[in-house]
């Protein structure tokens, strides 16, 4: 047990020192990289390792007779979580989410330190000591708190109330509900039931299972599936349509949506917000092809009331592309990102 805990403690100390080193630039900030595609689980795993490490450290210190007060354990752990969220994760997490995470981790720390009576007593003791102020030191501390706390609260209130020149926060609906049907080039498409006419198998029938096998694999580097190169001159059917969609994409869309479809095209940063990132699992991966068809055809100007403040400058592509071209572009976007369009069967 002791050996296990020692290993845990070692990992904890090394991890903590590395993190601090990376924050202060003592070691390169990419010493332990967050790997794209694996980041979500990597973050959770790192936190798990830190928790195990801290548990090991606490165990070792206890066995050596060094008591690290529960009060400071709780406070410092919470500070650690905030530090981790602020400095480890890149790009930076917006404040609203960090505030949510901070509150949850605060509650979690409270649950931990008050899970049983003995721990709760230990945690409360330093607070009670200051409030009771039986020693000179605690008296001084209490007086200091008496002065500092109102100042802190006052300062906080001042900063909150101070007029700001920042743009206001927008609670933007990224995926407004689509209409039941949309009319493009004189034809009405029911969004729930319409299908991409180019998602076909060699027999020319709509077949999503077939096209699913030919899309780019989702992994680091996004590799093409074997024998599924749309730019092969011999490519026919679905793959040929993907190529045609690709050509249309690079002629019209990539300037904003980027050549990697990640929303970082040549002109992307001239817009606020920047164009949609199709490689994110929260965009086209969540939607039906018909939803994309509607959005591409109608553009930012066709956003419904729900899409307030209509912060999209995408042109209504129905004015520039044929219906077939729109369907082919959509085919290419799903192929390239390796995502499957949502279906309801």
């Amino acid at each position: 047990m002791k050996a296990l805990m020692s290993v845990g403690a070692l990992i904890g100390v090394v991890g903590l020192l590395t993190l601090i080193g990376m924050i202060f630039g003592v070691v390169p900030s990419n010493t332990v990289r967050l790997v794209e595609g694996y980041m979500p689980m990597q973050v959770l795993s790192e936190l798990a390792i830190f928790v195990a490490g801290f548990a090991g450290l606490s165990y070792l210190l206890n066995s050596m007779g060094i008591v690290f007060p529960r009060f400071w354990q709780g406070i410092l752990f919470w500070v650690f979580i905030q530090t981790y969220l602020k400095f480890r994760i890149y790009p930076p997490i917006p404040f609203s989410v960090r505030a949510m995470y901070g509150t949850v981790s605060f509650v979690a720390v409270f649950m931990w330190v008050s899970a049983n009576e003995e721990d709760w007593k230990k945690f409360k003791q330093p607070i009670l000591n200051v409030l009771d102020a039986n020693t000179g030191f605690h008296k001084a501390l209490r007086t200091m708190y008496l002065i500092l706390l109102p100042l802190l609260i006052g300062g906080f209130s001042f900063l909150t109330m101070r007029p700001s020149v920042d743009e206001p926060i927008e609670l933007r609906t990224v995926h407004p509900a689509p209409p039941a049907s949309t009319k493009v080039h004189g034809k009405t498409y029911t969004l729930q039931t319409s299908q991409n006419p180019y998602r076909v198998n060699p027999e020319g029938k709509y077949d999503q299972a077939y096209s699913n096998k030919l899309i780019v694999e989702q992994s680091m580097g996004r590799l093409m599936a074997p024998n599924a190169n749309p730019w092969d001159e011999k490519a026919e059917g679905y793959l040929k349509y993907v190529r045609e969609g690709g050509e249309i994409f690079f002629q019209n869309c990539h300037f904003c949506h980027g050549d990697n479809l990640n929303g970082r095209g040549l002109h992307a940063f001239a817009f606020n917000p920047i164009p949609a990132n199709f490689t994110d699992p929260g965009t086209i991966a969540q939607l039906q092809e018909t939803f994309i068809f509607w959005r591409v055809a109608k553009g930012g100007i066709g956003l419904p009331t729900e899409g307030f403040p209509w912060a999209s400058v995408m042109p209504p592509w129905e004015q520039h592309l044929t219906t077939d071209e729109i369907w082919k572009v959509i085919l290419f976007e799903y192929w390239h990102t390796g995502y499957y369009p949502r279906t309801w069967d």
């Binding site: 967050l34 794209e36 980041m39 979500p40 689980m41 959770l44 936190l47 798990a48 928790v51 994760i89 790009p91 930076p92 997490i93 917006p94 404040f95 609203s96 989410v97 949510m100 949850v104 981790s105 979690a108 649950m111 931990w112 899970a115 049983n116 009576e117 920042d166 743009e167 206001p168 926060i169 927008e170 609906t173 990224v174 995926h175 509900a177 689509p178 209409p179 039941a180 729930q192 999503q208 989702q218 929303g263 970082r264 940063f269 606020n272 917000p273 920047i274 990132n277 994110d280 699992p281 929260g282 965009t283 991966a285 969540q286 039906q288 729900e306 499957y340 949502r342 279906t343 309801w344």
Partner: protein, 639 residues
């Protein structure tokens, strides 16, 4: 004829009368159903003496039917269709509706508890424990009796609010449901009659055969209550996903189609479970309040035990609740994709994040209570040191569960992030991760329960070591399976991904059923480290129970609002448009304030109900107080 036989006869007659009351509305309804509602056949047009039948197509079932009612009224923003005070009518209706729903849920849930607890008392071999259960069931029904009157009053207020402020809409809805409206009213009469016989017959029917008759009455009472709720659900089901009418909203003569809409059954299941969890929460809060104000150890012991039982019952219905909710949402998406997107990805998405937060709070409070409860058992220390790891698991699940898909941020933050989606958090914001998160939370709750159940016991079965290892492995692989399936969800098509929730849920429920069963077998005849010292629990645990109840109440208000506002500007979705000046969606802030006001009002009035209950107890001290919970040595069933 001896007096005992006479009482028996009377009891059987009373039970027969209840069943008669239950069947009466159905019998009354048969002619109405047979004649397809019996409304004046609006579709029968007389032309030159020949009756011409007009047919219409059901908007949902796509079947043909004879037009038997007027079309949905096309209202205008006028005093005629929307009479009003100098106030937003919708808010008044919202308030009346919500209060009625709170009390309605409570009085429907509590008799189900009573039935379960009374049954536990009847089958219990330990007489002292049986008496305690019986007393507890009686305490429960006593609370609900006062609440029942309030429910009826609030129901009256609700109907008057509808009639006064939304007459055109109410007239249309009551016209559609006319064939079953009187059934609803009669069911209410049956419910009242049954409840009063059940309550006032308690003392007279407390022994032997009569007790079974009494128990049967609770079954009848609950059947009536459930049918009542199903009928009420059919109205909201119709408003969200209408059926049985044509495109103009004309009734087509098949009342079953009107009732059995696309969302009726998911709503029924979700509401039953929700009501039970809510009822458990409210009773637990009552017990907590009495515990905190108790004057002696005896009272503290009783209310500690009562709080535990109410919490356990409530949570046992809370655990399957997210799965029922998932089914409901799946059906919503299947019915109208737009509606699903408005709810979960669009306009109302942020309310779902708040809902996720509330669900998390419910489970966190439950776990916290259980950890606190370990403190009243000698021998439970061995589990307490591992609580920090459960906290970690719960927190990770919670953080993933509440991560929003649409992040609130300043334009500067958006630029810094480089797009609307965050490469790490974006992955937590979608369904695959959230399913994993909630299943981790529920599995951890199950683990906490298992620890609690074995807190003061040491298994004496010869295979206990193997059993413990097996349980450990089972939980480990359950977590692993849930997490791996959540990750796998990103790599497969959406329609397959939706199906992945089934193995995830199955994993969680396997933990619940198999581990509870295995634990019970292992703990049979287990060595006791000491009795459960009822009443010796921290005050924090009781605040956790109050937190649990408040979160339930708040979440019910929130979910009701979400469900209702997803119709957007429709009274009846795609059939009858809301043309009042209030046919817009409130801001998140306004909705949250309104829900909070409703919650506050409910808790203020329910405190009054509690106070009344306490008043009655003071006047007539109950005889079963002699049996102090905790002193009776019945730990095997004490959990």
């Amino acid at each position: 004829m001896g007096s005992v036989t006479r009482t028996k006869l009377m009891s059987i007659m009373a039970l027969g009368a209840m069943i008669g009351l239950l069947l009466l509305p159905i019998l009354v309804a048969i002619p109405a159903l047979a004649s397809d509602g019996g409304s004046p056949a609006a579709g029968v047009k007389k032309e030159g003496g020949d009756a011409k039948v007009e047919k219409g197509k059901d908007v949902y079932y796509k079947t043909e039917g004879i037009v038997s009612g007027p079309p949905a009224p096309k209202t205008t923003d006028s005093e005629k269709d929307y009479p009003r005070y100098n106030f937003e009518s919708r808010v008044l209706l919202w308030f009346a509706n919500q209060q009625h729903l709170y009390y309605g849920s409570f009085v429907l849930a509590v008799p189900i508890f009573c039935m379960i607890i009374e049954f536990m008392g009847v089958v219990s071999k330990d007489k002292a424990l049986a008496k305690r259960y019986d007393q507890l069931a009686y305490d429960f029904i006593k609370i609900s009796l006062t609440a029942y009157s309030l429910t009826a009053i609030l129901g009256g207020i609700l109907i008057f609010t509808f009639l006064t402020l939304y007459p055109a809409f109410f007239q249309y809805l009551s016209g559609i449901f006319r064939p079953v409206m009187h059934i609803y009213a009669l069911m209410f009469v049956a419910e009242s009659g049954t409840l009063y016989i059940y309550y006032y017959g308690w003392d007279k029917m407390k022994e032997g055969f009569l007790k079974w008759i009494h128990l049967s009455m609770s079954v009848v009472l609950n059947v009536i209550g459930t049918v009542l709720m199903f009928l009420a659900n059919s109205w909201i089901g119709f408003m969200m996903s209408p059926a049985g009418v044509d495109e103009q909203g004309r009734y087509l003569g098949n009342i079953w189609h009107v009732i059995h809409t696309a969302l009726w059954n998911p709503l029924n299941l979700h509401r039953i479970l929700g009501n039970m969890a809510f009822g458990g929460g409210v009773v637990a809060a009552y017990a907590a309040y009495r515990f905190l104000s108790a004057k002696n150890d005896e009272e503290r012991a009783h209310y500690d035990w009562m709080g535990y039982i109410a919490m356990a019952l409530g949570v046992s219905f809370l655990i399957p609740l997210p799965f029922a909710g998932y089914w409901l949402m799946r059906e919503v998406y299947a019915y109208r994709q737009q509606m699903g997107i408005t709810l979960m990805g669009g306009l109302l998405a942020w309310l779902f994040i708040i809902q996720a937060t509330m669900i998390g709070i419910l489970f966190l409070s439950t776990n916290y209570y259980l950890w606190q409860a370990l403190g009243r058992m000698r021998g439970a220390e061995k589990y307490q040191r591992y609580i920090k790891y459960l906290v970690f698991l719960l927190t990770c699940g919670f953080l993933v569960f509440i991560t929003p898909h649409t992040i609130v941020m300043t334009p500067a933050e958006l630029k810094a992030m480089g797009g609307q989606q965050h490469p790490v958090l974006g992955n937590y914001g979608v369904m695959s991760a959230k399913n994993g998160g909630i299943n981790v939370i529920i599995t951890t709750t199950v683990l906490s329960f298992v620890w609690y159940m074995r807190g003061n016991k040491v298994s004496t079965v010869s295979w206990s070591k193997f059993g413990n290892i097996f349980m450990g492995c089972f939980f480990f692989f359950a977590y692993l399976n849930i997490i791996l399936l959540a990750i796998y969800g990103y790599y497969i098509p959406a329609n397959v991904r939706v199906g992945l929730s089934v193995p995830q849920v199955a994993t969680t429920l396997s933990c619940l059923f198999f581990m509870f069963a295995l634990n019970s077998v292992m703990m049979k005849g287990a060595k006791q480290m000491g009795p459960i010292e009822w009443g010796k629990i921290s005050a924090r645990s009781q605040y956790a129970l109050i937190m649990l109840a408040t979160a339930f109440t708040w979440m019910m208000g929130l979910m009701g609002y979400i469900r209702s506002s997803v119709r957007l500007f429709w009274h009846v979705n795609e059939i009858m448009r809301d043309n009042s000046p209030w046919a817009y969606t409130h801001t998140v802030g306004f909705a949250a304030n309104m829900i909070s006001a409703n919650v506050l009002f409910f808790w203020t009035t329910i405190m009054f109900v509690f106070w009344l209950g306490a008043l009655a107890a003071k006047k007539a001290p109950v005889e079963a107080k002699a049996a102090v919970p905790g002193r009776a040595a019945a730990p095997a069933v004490g959990h």
